[in-house]
Structure formats: C-alpha cells, structure tokens
C-alpha cells in the first residue's frame, strides 16, 4: 500500500468516542495496540495488510463506496489505510485524534458484511482487518455510546436490551396467554428438560417484537415440535460484544447460551430470524471458546422453516398472494450459504417471487449490519446515506412488481426500514415467520 490522501473530517459528536478519546495518552495507545498485535493477531493481519496491491477492485464490492458516488475514501482498501495500515506502519505510535477517526471508520463505515472479499483477487478479508481495529478501540475504551451501552447490557443481563430476569419470563407468559385465545392448549414450554429443540431469540424480541415469539410458538405447536425455552439468562443468542471487540464478553455470552440449552438436554438450538446472532453462535463465539463447531447443532430459522415444508410438518391454507422479493442477509448467505433454502421457503409460501438484483451471495447489505445500526442516532444519517445503492436495488424490484420485502434478519429489518422510509421506497417489510403465520392452518 502507498500513503493515503488526507481525508476531510466532519468530526463526530458521539460521546462514547469523544469522551473515550479524552482519556487516552499516546503511551496507552501504543501499549494496547502492541499488546493486541503481538498476542492476538499474529502473522494473519500482517499478511493481509501487506498483500494488498491497492488495485481497487474491492471498491465495487462495497455499498458504502457505491452509495457515496464512488468516493474513494469509502472504498474497502481506503478504510484499511485510515486504520490498521497506518497503525502498523507507525508501530502503534498514533495520536488520540487518529484513534477517534479510526473508531468512526471501523465502527460505522463498515458493516463487516464481507462482500468486498469476493471482489479482491487475493480474497482479502477487510472485515477482519476492521474487526482488529474495533478490538483495539474496545480495549482503549473508545466505542460509540449506544453500542457500548448494548455491550454493557449483555454483560449485566446476558441480553442486549437490559431485559430483567422476571421481565423475560413475564413476556413469555403473556404471549402464551394471548396465544391461548387462538389455541386453548398452546404452551410456551419453559425449562422442559429433555425437549428436542431449544428455541432462542434476540433481545429485541421480548422488548419490541413479542408477537414474533407468539408466532414462533404457533408454528412450533402446529409442527408438533418437542420444544422449550429457558426461564434463565442464556435465552438471548445475539451479541453486540462481538461487534464492539469485547471478545471476553462474547465468550461469556456464548457460554451462557449454549449451557442454557445443554443444561436442558436439548439436542439442537433453533434460532429466530437473525443474521449476526448466527455469526456469533455458529462461527465467532463457539470457536473463541474452543469448540470447532457449535456443541449442539444450530438451526437458523430459514433451515427450520425449510424442514417444516420439505417434511410436510405444517399445512398452509393458501399461499401469500402479494408479490414478494427477498433480501439475502449477509451473515447467513455469505456466512452459511442458506440462500437456496430461503428461496425454497419463499416458493413454498408465496405465490409470486421476484428476485432483487444482485442477489444471493452478491446481495448488498442493508447498511445496518456489523453493529452499525446499534451505534445509534449519532450515525443514523450517515448510515442511511450509505445505502443509496440498496434503495436503488429495492426500487428496481418494486418496478418489477414486488410489493413486500422479506428479510429474514432482525438487523436487516432495522436497516431496511430506514432505507425504505428515507428514500420513499414504499414497500412493506416482513419476516418469513410473519408470512408463515399468516397463511398456516392454525392447530386445534
């Protein structure tokens, strides 16, 4: 790599970053950086940074670059230059001001979506390099306020939304009671030891989208599933600590989650429609704890729904009749290859399916991923501006007749809601679970 051109700085007003930076000294920065570089990254990072030939091919892969009128500062390689490249060149002798800018780039200008890696002739994983930058920022205490708060919530409660132990159980009981108006013997089975399936969700479900738990209970009941949910912490499979760079806490959270399931002797974990949580339980968190694979199988909602339809476990009244398109969430498509299964579920449930382009592993990120949306209001405008290409992609699908966007990921929902609203796309957003619940035959 060669020297980067200076990047004009509009500055940030995020208090997590600003106050964190005030507490830094050059010595502390140098010490922490060198600790991370010597004990956590090894040769991998150096090879990554040294191999880049600045060819710029990755730029076309990045929705930030494409959405920002090809502003070179948003190309993947430039993001590395503004962060780890400079840090390695200067062997950690960088200023607090540098860390401030690097934190903004690492936390808010990359969704860790890994799309660019497909465009790099060497397959360089920019997301990994920026994760190292986040790790350094976490250890320096320079993290955007909102996502830092979420990480704190994880550390205290085991969940993302400061949900207290009693509020969790109370929410499940409330959803069970509501669902019993529809199916009198329906049960959300708490702590049933020996159930086959342990169902886990993310923090925002009990807090804001409790109807998703209702729907899941209805689907599990209709499918005759032998399932359970825990009354204890460990119910939340999500993980913002993975994105702030607090890997010790990521390990603690994943231990809690897997042990909640294995304590109940479940044979598998079925998880709701979430992408980043999948990355955390299927790749990052389990491996950090010493498990090559998850200790018991993790089944993403898409795989579970696919099982329901391919094994005829539930019946539908009639197919969903409004034309739909499908947003492929990065974490389960580039991360796990679930795109064909997702299409199979859409085709089993919807009458008219219109592909958005590009699609499958080439789909553009919604702009929310990698914890970017969790950095909150201070970065919202910048985030939405970086999704122009996503809006264009949605408009094109709409022009072909699509009315509903299916996004089987919570974060994608958050991101796409903002895209749809800001650019006036005027399409409705749904989870696959919403559609299945709407069309399924309700059990007796």
């Amino acid at each position: 790599m060669t020297d980067s051109t200076a990047v004009p700085d509009k500055g940030t007003d995020d208090q997590g970053i600003l106050t964190g930076v005030e507490q830094l000294s050059p010595e502390k920065i140098e010490r922490i950086i060198n600790e991370v570089l010597s004990s956590e990254t090894g040769a991998k990072l150096k090879v990554y940074v040294d191999t880049c030939v600045s060819c710029g091919l990755c730029s076309e892969g990045c929705h930030f670059y494409l959405s920002r009128d090809k502003d070179p500062k948003f190309s993947p390689a430039a993001k590395v230059k503004q962060t780890m490249w400079e840090i390695m060149r200067k062997k950690g002798k960088v200023s607090p001001e540098f860390i401030k800018k690097a934190a903004v780039v690492a936390y808010t200008q990359c969704n860790l979506c890994k799309r660019c890696a497909m465009y790099c002739p060497f397959g360089l994983d920019i997301a990994y390099v920026l994760s190292v930058m986040r790790r350094i920022c976490h250890r320096l205490g320079v993290v955007p306020l909102y996502i830092q708060d979420t990480a704190h919530s994880h550390s205290v409660t085991g969940n993302q939304m400061w949900v207290k132990d009693d509020e969790w159980v109370d929410t499940l009981m409330w959803q069970e009671e509501e669902a019993r108006d529809e199916v009198p013997n329906l049960r959300i089975p708490l702590d049933v030891e020996g159930a086959d399936t342990f169902y886990s969700v993310i923090g925002p479900e009990p807090k804001f989208r409790a109807q998703l738990i209702y729907q899941a209970a209805m689907i599990m009941t209709a499918a005759g599933e032998d399932w359970t949910m825990p009354s204890t912490p460990g119910w939340d499979n999500s993980d913002m600590c993975m994105f702030t760079g607090d890997y010790e806490m990521m390990e603690r959270l994943k231990k809690m989650h897997f042990e909640a399931a294995t304590r109940l002797k479940a044979k598998r974990i079925v998880m709701g429609e979430c992408g980043h949580a999948f990355r955390s339980v299927y790749d990052m968190g389990n491996r950090a704890l010493g498990w090559k694979m998850p200790p018991i199988p993790i089944v993403h909602a898409i795989e579970y729904y696919h099982e329901l339809f391919s094994q005829d476990k539930i019946k539908i009244k009639k197919k969903f009749d409004r034309p739909v398109t499908l947003h492929d969430p990065c974490n389960i498509v580039r991360g796990r290859g679930l795109h064909e299964m997702a299409r199979s579920v859409v085709n089993s449930t919807c009458k008219t399916f219109i592909e958005m382009t590009p699609n499958r592993e080439h789909n553009y990120c919604c702009g929310a991923g990698g914890g970017v949306i969790n950095c909150g209001p201070p970065f919202k405008n910048a985030r939405v501006e970086s999704t122009k290409i996503k809006a264009e992609q949605l408009f094109a699908a709409k022009a072909k007749g699509a009315e509903v966007v299916i996004a089987p990921c919570h974060n994608c929902h958050g991101g796409l809601e903002d895209v749809i609203h800001h650019y006036g796309v005027d399409m409705e957003l749904k989870f696959l679970g919403d559609i299945i619940y709407e069309i399924m035959e309700i059990p007796e």
Binding site: Y146, K164, D166, V169, G290
Partner: protein, 422 residues
C-alpha cells in the same frame, strides 16, 4: 443428600399412575414428575373451572388435585424429601406454594426457586413495584434493589446472596457504568465494594464467605471474596468454587490465551489448557476434576491436573466425581453422537442423548439415563438395562449399590421399579 435408607427396595414393578385417566380428567396436563422415592407423580393441570393447579397420584389412589387453583402455575419441583413446590399466581400476584400451602407474602413476580440439598428451605428472587430482593421461606430481604440476578442459597438454607445494582444505571450511562455499579448483597446487605460487573456469587460450606467473579475494567477480571478482589487480575475468569471442607476457593482463570485453575495467589495445577471450566471437588475436598480442552476442539476431563488420554471432538458436560472421589464420569459428544465416559474410558454405546452419570454410594457402580430414537433406558457400568420407557427420571442406587430405582412411563403408565443388579 437424599435419605434413601427407608425406601422400599424390594425388587419389582409397581404402577404409580395410569396417565390415560389423567388425560380423561383434565383438558390440559403438563409433563409428569416423580417424587424422589418414586411413590408419587405430580403434574400441573387445568381444571374444569379453567384454572391451573397441581395434581398428584400415588399407587392405588385417586388423582388428587390441590385444593387451591390459580391463574398460573409454573416451576413445579419435588424437593429431595418429597415435598412439592411451585410458583403460583392470582390477580397478578405471585408467591410460592409448597404442598398446597402458599406463602403469605405476595410479589409482582417470583422466579429462580432454589431448594437446599436437604429440601428444608426454599428461596426465590422476587420483584415488587419494580424493586428487587430475595426471599427465604416467606421472609423477604429488608433492602430492595433496582436490579437483582444470579441468586444463590447457602447450603444450610439460612442465607441468600445475589448480584445487585447498588448505583442505578440508566440506559446509555456508559461512563457511570464503567465506574462500577454492581455488587453482591448477602441477606440484603451489599458489599461496600462495587465492580463493573459481578457474576455467579457462591457461598462457602458454612456460609461464612461469599465469592463471585468480577470485572473491574474491560481488561481485568478476577475473583472477589467478601468484597475483596484477589491480588491478581486475569484476562477472563469463570465461576469460582469453594472446597466442600474448608474455605479454599478455586476458579478457572485465563492468562496469555491459556486457561489455568487458580486460587488466590497462585495456580492450583501446573497444567494450562485451551479451555478449562466447571471444576468439581470430591466430597472430602482432596480431589479436583474439571472439564478441559487440551487442544482446540478436543475435550476431556482433567483430574488433579492430569487430563485423560481419551478426548472427544464435540462437547463434554455433566462431570461428576464419585462420593469417595476415586472415580470420575461425564457425558460426551463425539462425531455427532452422545456417550458416557468413566475414569477415562468411553462406554461402548452411542446415543441420541445421555444424562449425568450417577455413582453408587461406595463408588463401585455407575448408571446413566440415555435416549435412543425417543425411548429411554439406563446404562449400568456400560451395559444397558433390557427395558425402555417413553419418559424416565434419573436412576437412584440403593444404599448398598446392589439395586436401582427407576421411575418412568411405559405405554401411558407411570411405574416405580426396583431392579436387582446382582
């Protein structure tokens, strides 16, 4: 600490309940639990008035519902001495009921019901008007907190400890959080010290000390005892554990990317591991075993710091030491199947699931519940019994280890069976 001496150990099978009669009597029944001695079964049911209650049945007797019924009942549990407790609610008020006798105090919610090993004391965590406390035997703490979790009950049942928020943190107050707003409260009185995080408080045997894992800043984890942190910090720690005989305290700690077993001031074992957790003491406190990963992705048991040669490639859990500490058993998962290993040797059978092994009092025999294709049996010293059940509870050895109590369902009938192992 179940006293099994006076149970009926006569070999043979006894019908405890015909479950089809329950289905006829109630439109809704939850799963059945057997009393420890197997002489009764119980389940949460919904009665004709559309209220929830608990019903029990003993051999040759009618189904016996509790006199009181409620809007909600959950967490039904037999104590070791056979008393039956549940969490119950009416008009949004919650409390504990034991053998159909509810506590007098009610709360806006109760959860995390804990029983002493003797079953003579019960504790719960409770919330009332958004204030949190713990309650033992209907006596709530006098102090309340804005947040409470991880409640522990001392062995003698006289004390509770829990992680509490001593300085209230509101959403987005990240700098206040960093100063340390959490502590451990014992019987309602918090330690003077606060920490960034506190987890997993536990009592020493005589309840004179309480320890917990803590994080003092993002990089430093350690163990705190009675509020005082160990001198050394680590990059991470797991839950501490007191010796069953004295105040020795151990905890898994991580340093330079490797896990050790440590005590205040030093290492307990020389060996380090890629992972080390769930240490367990023998009853005499002389032996320690733990679940370890000697290498990435390989799991086994270490006893006194020495890992078994056999390793398992997916998962290891349910580590248990025999009462005399001479033997160790565990459940493992290898190549997608579950099994049981004892003293470093995996038993031959592979199953869809295996449960924590149970040792006889003298340690000579080991039994474990296992599942294959949805039916359950017990494997004794590596050999499966020639019966199967559609539901089965953990096996219990007779005091001399020669017989085994099975409590399970076959063809909709709940049986109590004594198997002679001779």
């Amino acid at each position: 600490m179940i006293d099994t001496d006076n149970w009926d150990w006569e070999p043979g099978r006894k019908t405890v309940a015909d479950l089809s009669l329950w289905q006829e009597s109630y439109s809704y029944t939850e799963e059945f639990f057997a009393s420890p001695d197997g002489e009764t079964v119980a389940a949460i049911v919904r009665n004709e008035d559309e209220e929830f209650t608990v019903a029990t049945q003993a051999p040759g007797k009618e189904i016996q519902p509790w006199e009181n019924a409620y809007e909600k009942v959950w967490n039904l549990k037999y104590g070791p001495e056979g008393r039956l407790s549940a969490l119950i609610s009416d008009m949004a008020e919650w409390t504990v009921s034991t053998d159909d006798v509810p506590w007098e105090n009610t709360f806006d919610f109760v959860w995390n019901m804990a029983l002493t090993p003797a079953g003579d004391h019960i504790a719960v965590s409770a919330q009332k008007e958004l204030q949190y406390s713990a309650v033992i035997d209907d006596r709530p703490w006098e102090t309340q907190f804005s947040r409470l979790t991880g409640m522990a009950l001392s062995q003698d049942g006289k004390h509770t400890a829990a992680v509490v928020e001593t300085v209230q943190v509101l959403e987005a107050e990240i700098f206040k959080f960093r100063k340390g707003c959490y502590s451990v409260a014992i019987d309602g009185t918090p330690w003077k010290q606060t920490f960034m995080n506190v987890w997993e408080p536990c009592f020493s045997k005589d309840a004179s000390h309480v320890a917990a894992s803590v994080r003092t800043n993002y990089q430093d984890y350690t163990i705190a005892v009675d509020g005082k942190a160990w001198d050394r910090n680590y990059s991470s720690v797991w839950a501490p554990l007191f010796s069953p005989t004295d105040d020795t305290l151990i905890a898994p700690v991580k340093e330079n990317g490797r896990w050790f077993l440590a005590t205040d001031g030093g290492k307990v074992w020389d060996a380090s591991f890629c992972q080390l957790w769930h240490p367990a003491y023998s009853q005499d406190g002389n032996r320690i075993a733990a679940i370890v990963a000697p290498d990435f992705g390989l799991w086994t048991v270490a006893v006194d710091g020495i890992a078994w040669e056999a390793t398992f490639n997916e998962f290891l859990t349910d580590l248990v030491l025999s009462p005399d500490g001479q033997r160790a058993g565990c459940v493992f998962k290898h190549d997608g199947m579950w099994g049981v290993a004892v003293d470093g040797k995996p038993w031959q059978g592979r199953f869809d699931m295996a449960w924590k092994p149970v040792f006889s009092r003298d340690g000579n025999h080991v039994a474990a519940k296992v599942e294959t294709n949805g039916s359950y049996t017990v494997v004794v010293d590596g050999i499966p019994l020639d019966r199967s059940f559609s539901r089965l509870e953990a096996p219990i050895f007779s005091p001399d280890g020669s017989r085994l109590l099975l409590r399970g369902v076959e063809k909709d009938v709940f049986y109590r069976e004594i198997v002679d192992l001779g």
